[in-house]
């Protein structure tokens, strides 16, 4: 049987992977909370700063590699940014907030 646990980042998330927001989930900016949120039946997740910056680029077209490159360019001084971004993808995929298209 397939192991459904979240696997270590380097095994699960590849640069070529393309993700979209999961079906029945909605990602939006919340003015009152000054943060991005993901909304789904029976719940919501508040995404602080960096997490929101990652998920906001998940559009069903950009690959993980594209998003990493874009964020590296946008935040050149952030150390070890790639591991954090991959970590965010890993968690979001593990929680089924995003779905894999390829």
């Amino acid at each position: 049987m397939e192991n459904l646990e979240v696997k270590p980042a380097e095994q699960t998330i590849q640069h070529a992977d393309i993700f979209a927001i999961a079906l029945h989930h909605r990602f939006q900016w919340e003015e009152a909370q000054q943060s991005y949120v993901i909304l789904f039946p029976e719940g919501m997740v508040k995404l602080h700063g960096g997490a929101g910056e990652v998920i906001k680029r998940v559009d069903g077209k950009a690959s993980v590699g594209n998003i990493v490159a874009e964020l590296k360019a946008a935040f050149p001084d952030a150390a070890n940014i790639e591991a954090d971004i991959i970590g965010m993808f890993d968690m979001a995929y593990g929680k089924a907030w995003i779905r894999k298209l390829n």
Partner: protein, 407 residues
């Protein structure tokens, strides 16, 4: 954003939703969740309904469409984002389509909470076009017999049809099953049915005892062993289906050592506007004594949430008594449920009797004993009907004399 925010904290700071749907660890209160109980009228007569037993008083003075739309706008401005449209049976109103359109316009994630009675192809298409995000359907059992018995209606076949309709319109399939003595032995079959219907989310909600379910407590409460077995079966099923079908098992508090953090805290994240416009921090708050709840006909929701004495009364910990006030665990549960404390003990400020440290814990032990008493358990169920509600509203005390208010 700052560079730091893409650092180590990015992942850790993603707040995961709790079982009741909203992130708990916010630092300032906003009514993230708005529940619109648009009507108390209902074609079903469920024995476990949490609605007030005297709901009949509130069926003649429902808010108008315009008043609901104004309430939606006001709450959204204050940060409300999840909208539940509930009842009673909300589909008994013919303006749910208008409410849905407004909710979409305002950016709510909207949810219609329904028995399915009254959902037609025409209406579901209008909801889809209007931008309703999902529909939560109540199911009762895998057997026609139990479904029809506990709801006191012949709705079994209809619910299966409605489930298919929801799926066909591309909606997530969200099933809510209230668990009690009559269906707890069928958990595996209920989950199999949910899987066969293509459910994405299943909430197995063990009955909590408020309103009609409190009146029928001795008839509905299962044994501890049955609950443990149901939870074991649920965990096993979860392993099997993984992320495909998310299963929430809402634990019944009577069998725990500590109370639930009711509503995630009084006036913390949850706001209810009831059919007649009363604004409440929880479903059954109207049972509490010496409380004047704000009403949208007189005040805006901002007043209700921020300034009304009722919403501020049990915020924080300053109102607590012993043993809660000095308890090292007080932040975990905020002393539990005020309504349960009052209904069972007569003291709204006392610890929830569910807590084993409460001086009133014997009331819970007695309720569990009573549920095993064959004489009490064989008393007929009092169904949620207009006729029974009228009796309670008129002061009839049948089976509520031991409680400190009408449940």
């Amino acid at each position: 954003m700052t560079q730091n925010s893409l650092g180590d904290s990015a992942v850790q700071m993603a707040v995961h939703a709790q079982n009741n749907g909203v992130a708990a660890n916010i630092t300032h209160t906003q009514p993230l969740w708005l529940l619109a109980e648009v009507t108390y009228r209902c074609p079903l007569h469920c024995a476990f309904c949490y609605n007030p037993t005297d709901y009949d008083k509130h069926t003649q003075n429902e808010l108008s469409t315009e008043q609901w739309i104004q309430a939606l706008r006001d709450a959204r401005k204050m940060g409300a984002i999840q909208l539940g449209i509930s009842g009673g049976e909300p589909l008994l109103r013919d303006d749910i389509e208008d409410i849905v359109i407004e909710a979409k316009k305002l950016g709510y994630y909207s949810n219609l909470i329904t028995s399915g009675v009254g959902l037609t192809e025409k209406r579901i298409q209008a909801f889809k076009d209007g931008g309703l995000d999902h529909i939560q359907l109540s199911m009762h059992d895998i057997t026609e017999e139990i479904n029809n018995f506990i709801t006191n209606t012949k709705t079994f076949e209809l619910k299966k049809k409605v489930a298919a309709m929801i799926k066909n319109h591309g909606y997530p399939m969200v099933l809510n099953v209230v668990i009690h003595r009559y269906n707890i032995g069928h958990i595996k079959e209920i989950l199999e049915m949910a899987e066969a219907l293509g459910a994405d989310y299943v909430e197995l909600a063990n009955t909590q005892y408020y309103g009609w379910s409190l009146v029928n407590r001795s008839q509905l409460m299962p044994l501890k062993e049955q609950i443990d077995e149901a939870e074991r079966i649920t965990n096993e099923f979860r392993q099997k289906v993984g992320n495909k079908m998310k299963i929430f098992f809402v634990v019944p508090d009577y069998f725990g050592d500590r109370p639930k953090k009711c509503m995630n805290g009084w006036g913390e994240v949850f706001m209810i506007v009831t059919a007649n416009g009363d604004v409440l921090p929880c479903h059954s708050a109207r049972v509490l004594p010496n409380m004047q709840f704000p009403n949208v006909r007189e005040h805006g929701l901002e007043y209700a949430w921020k300034e009304s004495p009722a919403f501020n009364k049990y915020r924080g910990t300053a109102w607590m008594k012993g043993p809660c006030v000095t308890c090292p665990e007080k932040m975990n549960d905020l002393a539990g449920c005020r309504c349960q404390a009052f209904l069972l003990s007569g003291d709204a400020e006392s610890a929830d009797p569910v807590c084993s440290l409460s001086p009133n814990h014997h009331l819970i032990e007695k309720a569990i004993e009573d549920s095993k008493n064959p004489v009490l358990a064989s008393q007929p169920i009092i169904f949620r009907t207009d006729k029974n509600s009228k009796k309670y509203a008129a002061g009839d005390k049948e089976r509520v004399e031991e409680f400190h208010a009408l449940p």
